[in-house]
């Protein structure tokens, strides 16, 4: 057996052994966030669902859970958008095309996209939340005729924090969807809207509450207010899907770090309906 073969045997035996993934491309998105295009060393697709995440490993440094920010409908390569906040993520930012990191996953439940079919979909994202939301958005774009109205509402603190500008401008000019972007604190150059993301709800057309689903991903403060808006439009709590973050070590429901009350975010989540979240006092 070659070393690589025995390693692949290891992947089957221990859930903590990563598979090598190669960096194909690197794109700086903001001062803090960088997009990495990756491909698994074995050449097969990740076979993920929008909203799932991987454990990205820098051997000797550490491992971090990172959402897959591309849709499975886009081929074998997959993308991660990484914000530099600490040791592992800083190390990640040093990666260049050709470098190899370890990847375990995909993990988590992800969004059940089939259950959204036939519905109008409102995606509300705040800050880095656009990364996981982007996998949902790309998926809907690629299967556009399966969905009714499609709205994307995105808010960041400042114009400098806006992620995926290239995507946003493409989406904005596409007839497939309605995209609205706002920043909390605009600067002189900012031509778009300003204020918190909930202000964008005023411009949403009427939605049929029985046939609309919402995808909400962002910082905890955002959830509270977005959910109020959605409930005001009579969206049922079990049609509001949120993605949550916690500390994670194993990613496979063993280490206990990601618990919210009785739930394990890595296996029961990271996607929870608002209905479920309401029964978890520590969720928001």
């Amino acid at each position: 057996m070659t070393v690589i073969e025995s390693m692949e045997a290891g992947v089957r035996t221990s859930p903590y052994v990563s598979t090598p993934a190669r960096v194909l491309d690197v794109e700086k998105l903001t001062d803090l966030e960088t997009l990495f295009v990756l491909e698994m060393g074995h050449g097969r697709a990740l076979d993920h669902r929008p909203g799932q995440f991987v454990q990205a490993w820098m051997p000797g440094i550490g491992e971090s859970p990172i959402s897959i920010c591309s849709s499975p409908t886009r081929g074998r390569a997959f993308e991660l958008c990484v914000r530099r906040v600490g040791e592992v993520t800083s190390h990640f930012h040093r990666f260049r095309p050709g470098d190899e990191l370890g990847v375990r996953g995909p993990y988590g439940n992800g969004f059940n996209m089939r259950s959204l079919e036939g519905h109008s979909v409102v995606v509300v994202a705040g800050g880095l939340g656009l990364a996981p939301a982007r996998s949902v958005i790309q998926y809907i774009i690629d299967r556009r005729d399966h969905f009714d109205q499609f709205h994307v509402l995105y808010g960041t603190k400042t114009p400098a924090d806006v992620l995926f500008r290239h995507d946003l401008s493409l989406w904005r000019h596409s007839a497939l969807m309605n995209v609205m972007v706002t920043v909390d604190r605009p600067d002189e150059q900012w031509r778009g809207r300003s204020g918190v993301v909930t202000k964008l709800f005023a411009d949403l057309p009427p939605l049929d509450p029985d046939r609309t689903s919402a995808v909400v991903i962002g910082p905890p403060v955002m959830f509270k207010f977005v959910v109020i808006e959605l409930m005001a439009r009579s969206l049922p709590a079990d049609r509001i899907f949120c993605s949550l973050e916690r500390r994670m070590k194993c990613g496979v429901g063993k280490c206990g770090h990601c618990q919210i009350n009785s739930e394990y975010v890595c296996t029961d989540g990271p996607v929870f309906t608002y209905e479920r979240m309401r029964s978890l006092p520590e969720a928001i």
Partner: protein, 354 residues
């Protein structure tokens, strides 16, 4: 009646037979206390040890273990899992600890199975030792229905005649095919007779009386009592004393949380990933990058542990999250007692219901 009756000498022989092909681990006396330790032969064991200071979980789930090693070369890496599967026999495991191991089995076997735990567990023979009376004042195993085990062992021994150890007799039963095979291979002892039947019935009757009720609610009522008490003042009141030291977690036979860290060689070319015990009472357990701590208050952490032990684990696995062994009470230098917390919340819930 199934099983066999063994004399003390025969039991020692049986354990040595197990030890012929496995590393023996059982209770050893150190001063006034007992610890599970590897021994060369059964004669070294304190078979009548009440409860060991630590549960035998460290032999299945070590406090620190290397999960994998890796090598790096020119931007690429190769990683190899590290698995240990040397056969061991855990001797004189008490019912509470058997229930604890069953929970670990459940958690680590849930897909994707934890190969590291499973490799050890598959090679582990468990010889249980039933309790006829409570081992300590803090134990409430009977209240948690954990002072008897019907599953989760290969052999189970109950000491019948409680006189001098050397003259004691033991009823032994198999709980697995491996256990049955070992008994058959051993071939010693005798089939139980009418006298043994009587002795066993008498022991069972005595056992029923011997465990006082130490929980002020039924084990079935506990989850609801805890749920109702989620916003109780008890958490903050009790947590004023809590050091967040994690001792209660680390001594608990049903605690399985862990951390994983990377180690690297000086030249940066090879290293390992190591897992180590962690605990939800420790301050930084739910801390994330950027400094946000999802349970920053000691009261939140105390509540989290107690809710898990009394309700959430049961909800998730159908197995008790607390086996009532009382070790956390004993280990808490701040004298915080999970049993007293259960009782306080059960009482509050009772008053609510009135």
């Amino acid at each position: 009646m199934t099983g066999r009756i063994l004399s003390h000498a025969e039991l020692i022989e049986l354990i040595d037979l197990l030890g012929a092909s496995r590393r023996l681990i059982g209770p050893v006396r150190r001063g006034d206390h007992y610890f599970y330790e590897p021994v060369a032969g059964a004669a070294r064991l304190a078979l009548d040890a009440p409860q060991c200071v630590y549960s035998p979980k460290s032999f299945l789930f070590p406090p620190e273990e290397t999960l994998l090693t890796f090598e790096k070369e020119s931007g690429r890496f190769v990683a190899q899992p590290v698995l240990h599967d040397a056969p061991i026999a855990l001797i004189a495991v008490r019912p509470c600890d058997i229930h604890g191991i069953r929970l670990l089995d459940h958690v680590f076997a849930a897909p994707p199975g934890d190969a590291h735990y499973e490799a050890r567990r598959r090679q582990t023979f468990i010889l249980g030792m039933d309790c006829a009376e409570p081992c300590r004042a803090e134990a409430f195993c009977a209240d948690m229905s954990a002072n008897t085990a019907h599953l989760g062992f290969d052999l189970m021994v109950a000491r019948l005649a409680e006189k001098l150890e050397a003259r004691a007799t033991y009823a032994i039963e198999a709980g697995s095919e491996t256990g049955e095979n070992v008994l058959a291979e051993f071939g010693r002892g005798r089939a139980p007779g009418a006298v043994d039947e009587a002795a066993r019935a008498e022991r069972a009757a005595r056992k029923r009386q011997a465990f006082p009720k130490r929980l002020r609610c039924d084990v079935d009522e506990l989850p609801m009592a805890l749920q109702r008490g989620f916003a109780s003042k008890t958490w903050a009141q009790t947590a004023q004393r809590c050091y967040s030291c994690g001792s209660c977690n680390l001594v608990c036979p049903t605690c399985y949380c862990f951390n994983i860290r990377d180690d690297i060689s000086l030249d940066g070319n090879c290293g390992s990933r190591v897992r180590e015990w962690d605990g939800c009472q420790l301050r930084d357990f739910a801390l994330v990058a950027g400094g946000h701590n999802f349970r920053s208050d000691p009261a939140q952490r105390l509540r989290h542990r107690v809710m898990r032990k009394g309700r959430w684990i049961q909800d998730r696995t159908g197995l008790p999250g607390c086996v009532g062994c009382g070790r956390c009470d004993g280990a808490c230098t701040a004298k915080i007692s999970i049993r007293e917390m259960f009782n306080a919340l059960a009482e509050e819930a009772g008053h609510d219901g009135d």
